[in-house]
Symmetry: C2
Subunit: 312 residues, 2 copies
C-alpha cells in the first residue's frame, strides 16, 4: 500500500448528502452542483457526502460521478471536505470510484454494501469491503461504512464492523447509520467509538443524542437545505439550550418528511434559490406534484424557514 | 428511430441466465464463458439470457459486461440467440448496455427496473423504460421486462406493462416473471399474450403451466446445468407424458434449491465439467461449503443427473 503520510484530517460535524441537479434531458449539471456545494460549505456544512442516497447517486454511472467530482475540485471545493459515496453493487465499480476519490485527495469515502443480492452473508460483505481496500491499496483511504437497510436492504452488522476494523484500523474510519434505529447507533458508539471509529447519525433527529454518546456529527438529507441550524446544534451540543435547538431542527425535518424526501429537497432548493430547474429528478424518482410543493413551501415559510444567500 | 427492417426473430423455448466464470482475482473469464455458452446452445437452450441475476450481472461493471458480450459474438455465439440483461439502477448504464446489445444484433434485452430506490411509482418506472427506449432509438430493440421482486424489491405491475405495451408495441416484447407467483404469471398471460407479448416463466417449475397458458418458454437458473431435460418439457408440452417430464425437472431443481442457487450452479458446472475454477463467486456471494457441495453432488448423482459433453 502507498504510505499514509498525506492522510487528510477526518471530517467532523454536519455533512450533506448533496442533491444532484439535472438538466431537462437528465444530464448532470456540473455548474449548478458546484454552486450548491459552495453554498453548503459557507452555510454550516463541515463536509459534503456527495453521491449519497439523496444525491440519486445510484441513478448515475461511475463515469458521470467521476466527472462531477472532478468538476467540484476544479471549481474550488476542497477535496478535504469531500466524502463521496463510492459503494456500488458491482465491486469493480466500487474499486474504480473509491480509487478516483482517494487520488483526488478526498477526506473519505462513504461506502454502501453491494445491494442487489439480498440475504448475503457477513463473509461475503467482508470480502467485498476487503477487496476494495486491497485493490485501492492506498493508506490515504478513510472508509466510512454506510448502513441504510431501509433502502439498501443489506445491513452492516456490528460483527462485520468489528472484523473490518480489526483488519484495517485507520482505514475503516467510521459509519453513517441510517437505520433510523437509535439503539443500533448507540450500540455502534458503545462498541467502537473508543477505537477511533467515527459514528455519524444518518438524520439530524439523532444529532444531539449521537454527540452525547461520543459520535462525530450527522450526515443528513436536510443538511441540503437547513445546514446552518443543524450545525448550530452540532456546535452547541454541550450548551443548556441544546435540546431546544434540537427540537427546532427536528420540526423542520418533519415538514420535509411529509413528502418523498429527494423531490422535496429539490423543490425547496428550487424555490428558495429561485431556480426551477432544480426540481428535475432522474427516473425512477419523480418531482413533487404542484399540490405537494405548495404545501411544503407554505409550511416551511410558516415555520420561518429560509436559505440565506442561496438565490443569486 | 432507426428502421426495424433487420429485427431479429424472437427467441422461444428455454433460456439460461448464464453463470459467469471468474478467475481467482475475480476478473471475468471470457474463454470459459464462451465455452459454457456454446455448450448450452448445443444442449437444449434456445437462447442465452446472459447477465441475469444468476450471472452475477449486477456484480459486474458495464465495461466488463460489454467485453464479455463482444467476446461471445467473436467466439461464434450467434447474437440472434442472445438476450442480455441490460437493466441497471443507473439509467445511463441501462442506456449504454442496451444500445451495445442492439448494435451487436442481439435478439432482445432483459431489463430489470432500477432497483436501488424502493417504493417508487409506476410513473417513475415508466419514465425509466421509456427514456431507455427513446435514447437507444432503434426499432430493432426487443425489450423484455424482468419482474423479480424477491431480489430487486421493485415490481413491474400489470398496469406498467399495459402502459409500456400500448406506447411501444413491437419494442416491448415480453416479460420474465420471477415472482414465484403463478397467479401473477397467469394474469400476464391472460392480459397480454394475445397482444404479442411473450411471457417466460422465471423457473422451469412453471414451464408446463406457462406453455398451456400461451407462454413462450422459461428463463431459468437451472437451465445452466439441466438444459436438455427442460427443453424436452418445452418441446413435449402437448404430449401425454408432459406432466411426468415436468415432475422430473422439478425434482432436479429441488435438489439444487436446497443451497444458495448461484454457488450451487457453479459447483455443479465445476464438478461435472471437471473444472474447479468455476466455483469462484464475486463478493458478496460466496462459494458453497465443502459439506454443501458434497451433499449437492451426491444427491444429483443419486438422481441420475449428468451434463453430457461438458467435460472437455
Amino acid at each position: 500500500m502507498k504510505p499514509a503520510m498525506s492522510k487528510v484530517k477526518r471530517i467532523e460535524g454536519v455533512l450533506s448528502p448533496v442533491v444532484t441537479p439535472f438538466n431537462r434531458d437528465y444530464a448532470p449539471d456540473a455548474p449548478r452542483f458546484v454552486r450548491h456545494c459552495r453554498w453548503l460549505l459557507k452555510s454550516g456544512c463541515a463536509g459534503l457526502a456527495v453521491f449519497g442516497t439523496n444525491s440519486e447517486a445510484n441513478s448515475m454511472s461511475v463515469g458521470e460521478k467521476r466527472k462531477l467530482l472532478e468538476a467540484l475540485v476544479a471549481g474550488g471545493v476542497p477535496a478535504s471536505a469531500l466524502m463521496p459515496g463510492t459503494g456500488h453493487c458491482a465491486i469493480s465499480d466500487s474499486i474504480e470510484m473509491t480509487r478516483a476519490a482517494v487520488e483526488l485527495g478526498c477526506a473519505g469515502v462513504l461506502m454502501l454494501p453491494p445491494f442487489y443480492y439480498k440475504n448475503v452473508s457477513d463473509e461475503g460483505l467482508y470480502r467485498n469491503f476487503a477487496e476494495v481496500i486491497e485493490r485501492v491499496g492506498d493508506e490515504r483511504l478513510q472508509l466510512y461504512l454506510y448502513h441504510i437497510p431501509p433502502v439498501s436492504q443489506v445491513a452492516i452488522s456490528l460483527a462485520l464492523i468489528e472484523k473490518l476494523l480489526s483488519k484495517y484500523p485507520g482505514i475503516v474510519a467510521g459509519v453513517k447509520d441510517s437505520s433510523g434505529n437509535w439503539d443500533n447507533t448507540k450500540a455502534m458508539l458503545d462498541q467502537f467509538a473508543k477505537a477511533g471509529f467515527d459514528v455519524f447519525a444518518g438524520s439530524e433527529e439523532f444529532l444531539l443524542a449521537n454527540m452525547r454518546g461520543g459520535g462525530k456529527g450527522c450526515i443528513t438529507a436536510t443538511g441540503n437545505v437547513n445546514p446552518g441550524a443543524i450545525d448550530k446544534v452540532y456546535r452547541s451540543w454541550r450548551s443548556p439550550d441544546a435540546d431546544a435547538l434540537q427540537a427546532g431542527i427536528t420540526a423542520t425535518r418533519r415538514i420535509l418528511q411529509k413528502h418523498p424526501m429527494i423531490p422535496a429537497l429539490k423543490a425547496t432548493v428550487a424555490h428558495f434559490g429561485n431556480d426551477p430547474q432544480w426540481k428535475t429528478c432522474r427516473p425512477p424518482l419523480v418531482e413533487l406534484t404542484s399540490a405537494q410543493e405548495e404545501t411544503l413551501i407554505r409550511e416551511l415559510k410558516a415555520a420561518g424557514f429560509s436559505m440565506p444567500g442561496l438565490a443569486s
